[in-house]
């Protein structure tokens, strides 16, 4: 949970300081993170079930979603993608002449 707070603090200041306006485009944020988040949560569920990784029950909140996924993992796939979007938008704000696509 501390890690998630750190990520929020580390990235969301860009929203104010550089006015990246990511949260203003919340629909576009959601359409970007929901499909990817669902795929990764399926992976997470499979990895937990197969024992690829596990979590120390004493160091997590102990609240679990579907398929035994800790709440922190679900929040991770919301917080981290938003932080990444804010990062690229911040870079674009600072480096306005760097093209982002050739479409």
């Amino acid at each position: 949970m501390a890690m998630l707070f750190f990520t929020v603090i580390g990235s969301f200041w860009l929203e104010i300081a550089l006015k990246v306006g990511v949260l203003r485009r919340i629909k576009r944020v959601l359409t970007s993170i929901i499909p990817v988040g669902l795929v990764f949560l399926l992976w997470d569920a499979y990895a937990i079930k197969s024992g690829h990784w596990r979590f120390d029950r004493n160091q997590i909140l102990g609240i679990f979603g579907p398929a035994g996924i800790p709440l922190e993992e679900i929040l991770f796939f919301i917080v981290v993608p938003i932080a990444a979007i804010m990062t690229i938008e911040a870079v674009r704000t600072v480096k306005k002449n760097w093209p982002v696509t050739n479409l």
Binding site: G10, H52, W53, D56, A84, I88, V91
Partner: protein, 96 residues
Amino acid sequence: MSYTLIALSMVIVSLLLDVFFLKVKLVTRRVFWVSYAIVLVFQLLTNWWLTSRNIVMYNSDAIIGIRIASAPVEDLAFGFSLILSVLTIWIYQEKR
């Protein structure tokens, strides 16, 4: 090595999404790599926190065993595919 294989597959899927399906081609852009580099620094920091304190633990059968900042090297592939997929879809929506 199951985590290794899934993580590598996801890197390939995210590259296919970016280059062939949505044709955003973010991986050819400096803006992506600079952004990824920034994210990577924070990923290494938070990964180190989560793994060195054993908040998250990995089955040694699932990984190849190479560790970077105390976390399995596979986490880099995990993070890269997550970030590339999200940013590809984010930018794709802007250009439609």
